[in-house]
Amino acid sequence: MTDWLVMVVVTTTSVGLALTLGIYGTVVLDRVIGRSIAGEPLRLTRALVGPFQHAALLLLQQRSDTERSDSATWAVAPALLGALAAAALAVVPLTPAVALEVSSGIVYFGATMAMVMVAVFLNGWSANSTFPLIGGYRFVAQALSFEMPLVLVLIAAALPAESLNVADIVRSQDTLWNVVRQPLGLPLYLIAALGVSFLGPLGLPDGIDLAGGTVAELSGTALLLWRAAQAAVLVAVSAMGAAVFLGGWLGPWLPGSVWMALKTLLLIALMVVAKHLFGRVRLERFVVVSWVVLIPVALVHVFLSGILALRRIGS
């Protein structure tokens, strides 16, 4: 029992810490990368304190409401999104010591990422306003399309590890990282990750063509919490990607947690670059491409990884 309590406390604090730092890092990276792509001077100090100023401004703003909105589900949606990100991060081994050894880790991760759909849909639905509503529906279409590739690449990574436990998957990359062993895995995963954190090319639910879509009717704390939850999801998927494809805590010289943090930040940065460089795609087109290209490719990827895993064991 005391062991368990210690585990709970350690996990909760480490997840909380990782999420806070990750969200902060995401916002800073977003600004730095955005400005460098725009060709503007960087102004690093401003980038570093900016997130706090912004958050303070939103905390001091009134929370808006709409006519006959479903206020209960509207309140739950951001909390659910944030909680899902936290829960997903809990099974990602941040260091070899702090790892929840969930033997169906990637099933669990897949479940939390699928639930993101519920949170975003609710956030769009609850406002009783057309643009958020369309945004919510867009996310459902998008989620139904990217969910399968997301899960399939994780299954492929589980093959050589012979386990669904994320920590086992990290350990299986002792000799060779999955990013090399399964070259298709990371790109597919990143596409799906952009989808799950509704960013950039797949930021369809809150596009400007919907005046902000799911966030169009949000203000003040509600907006702050929603953006924080979105960044938290980005952190969670990036951490998972770092663990599954970039060898997690493995790495020379530095302690495992530092490696993990660096790799996660690298993936976050990659996705933020994608956000700023790739425009919003057409949803209709993405759905077809996802079913006709991404899912078959992900399946082929699973089988190829399987054959490679068999050969490695055989030899």
């Binding site: 099933v107 639930m115 609710l122």
Partner: protein, 194 residues
């Protein structure tokens, strides 16, 4: 500890199942059902059917959102802006519900079940995989065929373009059409007018 969690979860599960039929908003109804299922999934995890519980959660998110999407599509007043109940044979249904609860509950309480042998703890999933690939291979493959049939069937039923014209415009197979034209059949639209 597990007992406490079990009672909480069964409470959530039954209560939210009840809420499903007591809410005006279709989206809320669908997600109450999801909460009910999620609580069942946690109970399954408590029963050390860890994989089953988690996979149920994974399925649920998609299925219940799709459920919400369809419910909103086909219910008038989907958000319950005008509160209104839409039930029929209410008393009979309650009676049937109570009866089935009592019947099944009686089986549960008075039935005799073989005592639980030590169940597998660590590699439940692996044993399930072995089972799938060896003894129950046929079940596994049959599931594949069933799902294929489901996909094709569902798409064929739901799509507007039937083989003989638009589904909502009295499309009739040519052979049937001929026999009907002998009498006074409804005029049929052109073939494949889509």
């Amino acid at each position: 500890m597990t007992d406490v969690l079990f009672w909480i979860m069964s409470g959530i599960s039954v209560l939210s199942a009840w809420r499903v039929f007591r809410t005006d908003s279709m989206v809320r109804a669908a997600y109450w059902l999801m909460v009910s299922f999620a609580a069942v999934a946690v109970i399954l995890v408590l029963l050390s059917a860890e994989f089953l519980g988690l996979v149920l959660l994974l399925m649920l998110a998609g299925e219940m959102t799709i459920m919400a999407v369809f419910m909103v599509m086909f219910m008038m007043n989907p958000a319950g802006l005008n509160p209104m109940t839409m039930v029929h044979q209410h008393r009979a249904a309650i009676a049937a519900g109570v009866l089935s609860f009592l019947g099944l509950g009686a089986v549960g309480v008075f039935g005799r079940f073989p005592a639980g042998v030590s169940f597998a703890t660590r590699d439940v999933t692996a044993r399930l995989g072995m089972e799938l690939l060896n003894d129950s291979m046929l079940i596994f493959q049959t599931a594949g065929v069933t799902l294929l049939a489901t996909m094709i069937g569902a798409l064929a039923i739901a799509s507007r373009r039937g083989r003989y014209g638009l589904a909502d415009e009295d499309s009739i197979e040519p052979a049937v059409e001929n026999s009907q034209n002998a009498g006074e059949g409804p005029p049929s639209t052109e073939k494949g007018s889509a």
